[in-house]
Symmetry: C2
Subunit: 356 residues, 2 copies
C-alpha cells in the first residue's frame, strides 16, 4: 500500500498532519486544534479527524517518536526455547535490565537448530541491537567455535557485540563478552552434601559428553567423589538430556534392572530431578525415605517438591550480560569475562545414611 509522507533523518517515515487533514476533509489548523485538545470542536468533526488519525497511524508514529530517544535502542537474546525455566529466567533478567537501561528487549528462539540460529542472528543484526546474547548449553566443537567467531566478527563490524551467557569463552580471536556461572562448583557442593550425609552410591543423571554445561557439572560430581576418597563408578552415570521426561526415562530404566543399587541421586538439573522423582514414586519408593535426591537450578518445581538443589543466579546472569555489554559499548577495550557463583539450597529431599 503506497502512502506519501515525510522521511525523517533516521530513515523512518511518519504520517504528516497534512495527510490527516486531507483524509478527514478538514483544514490543517482544525486537525492541530483537535489534537492539541485545547479548543472545542464539533463532535462530528472530531470523530472524522480521530478516524483519519487512526487510519493513518499518526498517533502511533507520534507517540513512538516521543519514545525513540529513550527506548528505541535494543538488546537481543537468543535461546533454544522459552519453556525451559532456565532460559526463561535468564531472558527475564535480560528484559528487566534492558528496561532499566531504557532498551527494548527482543527474544529469538531457535529450537536448538544451528540454521535457525544463524538466520536469527542475521535477522536481529539488521535491527542494529547493541548486543546479541546467546544462552546455554552447547556442544562446543570446532563447527560451533567457527560459527560463534563469525557472529562475533559480524556483530563487531556494525558496532554491536556478541555476548555468551552460560557458555565458555571462545579465545582471543573472537571478541565476545562472556558471563558464566559456576557449574562445577555448584555440582561439587551438591555431591559433597550427599557425601557428608553418608551416601556413597550416588547415581548421576544427565551425562552428555561434549556439552559444556553437562560436562562442567559431571566434573563437579567426580571431583567431590575424589575429594571424599570415594571410588568413581562409571556405572552410576546415566546419559540423558536436561528435560523432565528424560529424568523419568533414566530412572525408569535404572529401576527396571532391579532394586536400586544407590542410596542417593544427583540430577544434573531440577527438571531431571522432577522426572526421576515421579518414576521413584510410581515404583512405591519415597524421597527421601528410600532415596535421597538433589537437583540443580532452584527453579520450579524445586520448591513444590521440597527439593534440595543448587541455586544459580539465572536472572542475575541475564542482568549481568546486559550490564557488561553496555559497559563494553561505552568503554571499548577487551570484552569483559565474569563468572557468577552458585550455592546449595537445603530442603527436605536428603536423609542421612545411618552407618550399618
Amino acid at each position: 500500500m503506497a502512502r506519501k509522507g515525510t522521511s525523517t533523518g533516521d530513515g523512518k517515515r511518519h504520517t504528516t498532519i497534512r495527510e490527516v487533514a486531507e483524509r478527514a476533509g478538514v483544514s490543517v489548523a482544525t486537525v492541530s486544534r483537535i489534537l492539541s485538545g485545547t479548543y472545542p470542536a464539533a463532535p462530528a468533526t472530531r470523530a472524522k479527524v480521530m478516524r483519519a488519525v487512526e487510519e493513518l497511524d499518526y498517533v502511533a508514529n507520534h507517540h513512538a517518536r516521543a519514545l525513540q530517544g529513550t527506548t528505541r535502542k535494543s538488546i537481543a537474546i537468543i535461546v533454544n526455547s522459552v519453556i525451559s525455566p532456565h532460559y526463561a529466567h535468564v531472558a527475564q533478567g535480560v528484559q528487566t535490565q534492558a528496561a532499566e537501561d531504557a532498551r527494548l528487549c527482543q527474544i529469538g528462539t531457535t529450537g536448538g537448530d544451528a540454521e535457525r540460529e544463524l538466520a536469527m542472528v542475521q535477522f536481529m543484526r539488521e535491527q542494529h541491537p547493541e548486543a546479541v546474547i546467546l544462552v546455554g548449553n552447547v556442544n562446543a566443537d570446532d563447527e560451533y567455535r567457527a560459527r560463534m567467531s563469525r557472529y562475533a566478527h559480524a556483530l563487531a563490524a556494525i558496532g554491536s557485540r556478541l555476548v555468551l551467557c552460560g557458555r565458555p569463552p571462545l579465545g582471543p580471536d573472537a571478541p565476545a563478552v562472556v558471563v558464566e556461572y559456576d557449574n562445577t562448583g555448584g555440582a561439587f557442593a551438591a555431591t559433597g552434601h550427599l557425601l557428608s550425609n553418608g551416601h556413597r552410591r550416588i547415581l548421576y543423571l544427565g551425562r552428555r559428553p561434549g556439552y559444556t554445561t553437562a560436562d562442567a557439572r559431571i566434573e563437579g560430581y567426580r571431583g567431590a567423589l575424589a575429594a571424599y576418597g570415594v571410588p568413581h563408578d562409571p556405572g552410576l552415570e546415566a546419559d540423558g538430556t536436561f528435560e523432565r521426561f528424560e529424568g523419568y526415562r533414566m530412572m525408569q530404566e535404572r529401576l527396571a534392572a532391579g532394586a536400586p543399587d544407590f542410596t542417593a541421586v544427583f540430577a544434573a538439573n531440577d527438571q531431571i530431578a522432577a522426572g526421576a522423582r515421579q518414576a521413584l514414586l510410581e515404583r512405591g519408593l519415597t524421597v527421601p525415605g528410600d532415596v535421597s535426591l538433589v537437583g540443580f537450578d532452584d527453579l520450579p518445581p524445586a520448591a513444590d517438591i521440597d527439593l534440595t538443589t543448587v541455586y544459580q543466579p539465572h536472572e542475575e546472569l541475564g542482568r549481568t550480560a546486559v550490564r557488561l555489554a553496555l559497559e563494553h559499548a561505552r568503554n571499548g577495550g577487551p570484552p569483559p569475562h565474569t563468572v557468577l557463583g552458585a550455592h546449595l539450597v537445603i530442603r527436605g529431599s536428603v536423609r542421612p545414611v545411618v552407618p550399618a
Copy 2:
C-alpha cells in the same frame, strides 16, 4: 563504520567477493576457487581469504541469502513475561508453527507496561512481520480498546495483521484475528468436579474484576454453583493476581483468620494453587486430606504436586494463532475468530466429602 558494498533490491546490503579479494590481497578468481572448495589452495592463501571472509561477514551474508527465500519472513509475539509458564508455552507453540511454516519467530516482552507494549509493536512493525500476536489477560477498558484498534489499523496499513490470543475480540471496527480458549467452560468443569464430590464451601482464589481471563473464570465458578443450587457467598472469593506468591499470600491471610471455613479451593491458575498449597502445608494441613484443591492450566508444577486441574491447549493456542494469521494473509476477508476447548485433568488433589 562505513563499508562499500552492493545494495540488493530488497534494501539489504551484502559484502561482495571483490571486497573479500581486496582485503585478502588476492584475485577474485582465487577467492572464488577457495570458497567453492573444489580446487587446492596454499594454506597461507586460504587462511588469508577465510580471515577476510570472516571480517567482512561474507559467509554469513551468503548463507543468509540462501535462507532468505524460506525463512526471512517472520511472526512476532508480544507477552508480559516469559517466566509465566502459560505465556512461555503459547510462545513455544508460535515458534513451532512458525518454524514449520518457514518463518522466523521473535518474542517481545513488556513487563505488563502499556508504553513498552506500544514501543514494542512499533519496533516490530518496522521489520514487517506477517503478524503481531498479543497474548493474555488484560483490563479491557476503553483505553485498551482504543490502543488495540490503533495497532490493528497500523499493522493492516503495512499488510500485516494483529492477532489477539487468549483475549476477547475488539468488535467490527478493529481488524484483528482472534484465538480464545474456553475459560468459563473450564472453570465451570473444575468447580463442578468439586461440587460433584460433595463440596459446598469452595474458596475461589484469584478474583480480579475488570481483567478478562479472571472475569471469565470466576463466571464459570459462579455458574457452576448456580447450576448445582449452591448459594453464592462473596466472602469465599479472594482477590489476587495469577502468581505463586499471590496464592501463598491469599491462603495465608485466610488461615490467619482462623480454621478453614471451606473444604475445597478452586485456584484461578496452577501457580496460585501451588502457592496456596504451600501455605496449607506450612499450617499442618494436607491436600486433599484436609482441603481439596483444583487449579487451572495443567502446567508445571501441576503434575509434580498431583494437582487436579483444567487442561488448556497452550501450545495449540500459539499454533492456531500462526495458522489463522497466515491463512488470513493468503485469503484476506474478515479476520477469523476461533475458541479452543479446555477439559478437566483428574489427579489426586480432590477427596469426596462424606455426608455427616
